[in-house]
């Protein structure tokens, strides 16, 4: 097979480093997987040396273990961590406008949004799906979110196909992984085993192609693309968690009254961790601040969670979802059912973060199965 016509390139680690350098040279702020203070995070990447080389993660419900192996050279060995890319696109805290008070009233000035061109390096297929879900939320309706839209338009996406599955992954069920099919400028599969280490790249956009051309990489051989494909398929096969995505919407719509909600609420701490780590959760609240002398005021949009009582507080009353069971039901039903009617897509991409970062290990796939089972009883 002719490597050129396959459209794939094979990059050595050095060429991969050149790609990062080319990105920076082209004016991109590069963000990628890093390990900082023992945590797997997304942060600024100044060179490929700053990536999480040799690290791997082990995930179970309520459990996350990060380990480093001297034997592994993989830069993208960690499936995911508590960060998702929404930290860049949908900021935890975003000032929307500032006002200045005067005797005659006040003036308002919209906070400008001039994001740097950024490149997200090593975006997992599920996280690309999550970005596309948030695209639908923030830019798909009649009123787009200016801040999200501007940041999104300035973001270049370099996908990293998955060659490992964490114990909580179920992207295969949600149709979002382990291979990225769309929504990226560049995508690669990292092969790092038996002394070999290379990246099989494909470019999907003109910007991606141009960047790829700058690192002087040859076309990937058939053996190299076959190896990459095999690793992706092994990740798919390694996934133990499943969710019946086809029937879940109807199931949850039928089961607003199901004893399982109460049972789960006994475990749920309503801590909001799941919403904070979820790459698609988008709820926010407005926070107004006024300077002590009253001369200035500002409004910020701050990430919020449907697990707090305040979230559904109505004036003259209280919270419309006082019970933890109602709040868990809202979150899960929104994610897997009502989201379809709101945005034409599921709100879940199968990344497994909500399972891992739940302090008591509530597992959304297990909950979905339990509701189906309770209904059948």
């Amino acid at each position: 097979m002719n490597g050129e016509s396959s459209g794939y390139s094979a990059l050595t680690p050095a060429q991969f480093g050149a790609l990062v350098a080319a990105l920076r040279q082209a004016g991109y702020a590069v963000a990628g997987p890093r390990v900082a203070d023992g945590e797997f995070v997304f942060g600024d990447v100044s060179s490929s040396a700053g990536l999480a080389a040799g690290y791997a993660d082990e995930q179970k419900p309520g459990r996350y273990l990060l380990s480093k192996s001297a034997k592994s050279a993989a830069l993208f060995g960690v499936v995911n961590g508590q960060h998702s890319w929404k930290k860049y696109l949908f900021s935890q805290q975003e000032t929307l406008w500032r006002a200045r008070g005067s005797s005659g009233g006040f003036s308002v000035e919209q906070e400008p949004c001039r994001p740097a061109k950024s490149a997200f390096l090593g975006v997992r297929p599920c996280d690309i799906a999550a970005i596309r879900v948030q695209d639908a939320v923030f830019t798909g309706g009649a009123c787009a979110d200016t801040y999200y839209k501007t940041r999104r338009e300035n973001a270049l996406i370099i996908a990293a196909n998955c060659t490992r599955a964490s114990g909580n992954c179920f992207c295969d069920s949600m149709g979002s992984g382990p291979r990225a099919r769309a929504g990226f400028d560049l995508a690669f599969t990292e092969v790092a085993e038996n002394g070999a280490h290379y990246f099989v790249f494909e470019a999907a956009t003109a910007a991606g192609k141009q960047l790829l051309s700058k690192c002087g990489a040859p076309a990937a051989s058939a053996a190299q693309t076959r190896k990459a494909d095999a690793l992706i398929e092994s990740a798919r096969a390694a996934m133990t968690k499943k969710l019946d995505a086809k029937n879940i919407k109807a199931l949850l719509y039928r089961n607003y009254e199901n004893p399982r909600w109460e049972q789960t609420a006994k475990r749920c701490l309503a801590c909001a961790n799941c919403t904070m780590v979820c790459p698609t959760c988008f709820c926010s609240t407005m926070e107004d601040q006024t300077s002590l002398d009253g001369a200035q005021a500002s409004r910020a949009r701050r990430a919020d969670s449907c697990f707090t009582l305040d979230f559904s507080w109505i004036h003259g009353g209280g919270s419309v979802r006082p019970a933890a069971s109602s709040r868990y039901r809202q979150w899960m039903t929104h994610k897997l059912a009502t989201w379809h009617d709101q945005f034409g897509t599921s709100g879940c991409v199968g990344c497994g973060r909500c399972i891992t970062w739940c302090p008591v290990g509530i597992d959304i796939t297990e909950e979905a199965a339990a509701i189906a089972e309770a209904e059948a009883d």
Binding site: I314, H315, G316, G317
Partner: protein
């Protein structure tokens, strides 16, 4: 001119009542007029009559010493007053007073009770109609108690 039976058949309280029951009911009924301020029912007295209002308005009241009558609910065209006629001990529980001149069909409660005792199907029909009125009044009273426009409930 309309017969009493025709008037009754058009009244909300008697909606869809079988003609033979209407005939039995009409046999205990007569037109009656109340001037403004006159009582249709008086708390504690024998519930000898009940009324279906054809025109005018009345008020269900409770009399409070030092305050006078307090209106609980207004009644108008299509409403009935005096449901105590069907329910032991057949005493009015509240006052009903004409606010404007009231034209009503008055029923002799004792006469109708006897017919109901003799004809349980007729009695059951009346019981259902009266109970609907009682339930509607109870429901309205509950809403009033809730004070739904107060600041504590939206």
């Amino acid at each position: 001119m309309k017969t009493l039976e025709q008037i009754l058949a058009e009244h909300r309280f008697f909606r869809d009542m079988p003609p033979e029951y209407l005939r039995l009911a009409a046999g205990c009924a007569a037109n009656k007029r109340f001037e403004a301020g006159q009582l249709l029912c008086r708390e504690g007295s024998d519930a000898d009559y009940f009324y279906v209002i054809s025109r005018g308005s009345a008020a269900i009241e409770i009399f409070a010493p030092g305050r006078g009558p307090i209106t609980i609910q207004s009644l108008g065209e299509g409403d009935m007053a005096g449901y105590s006629w069907l329910i032991p001990p057949y005493k009015y529980r509240l006052d009903v007073r004409a606010v404007e001149p009231v034209l009503a069909v008055a029923f002799d409660g004792k006469c109708l009770r006897e017919k109901c005792e003799a004809n349980p199907a007729l009695g059951y029909d009346f019981l259902k109609r009266v109970t609907q009125v009682v339930i509607a009044r109870l429901g309205a009273t509950r809403l009033q108690l809730l004070d739904i426009y107060g600041k504590n409930l939206f």
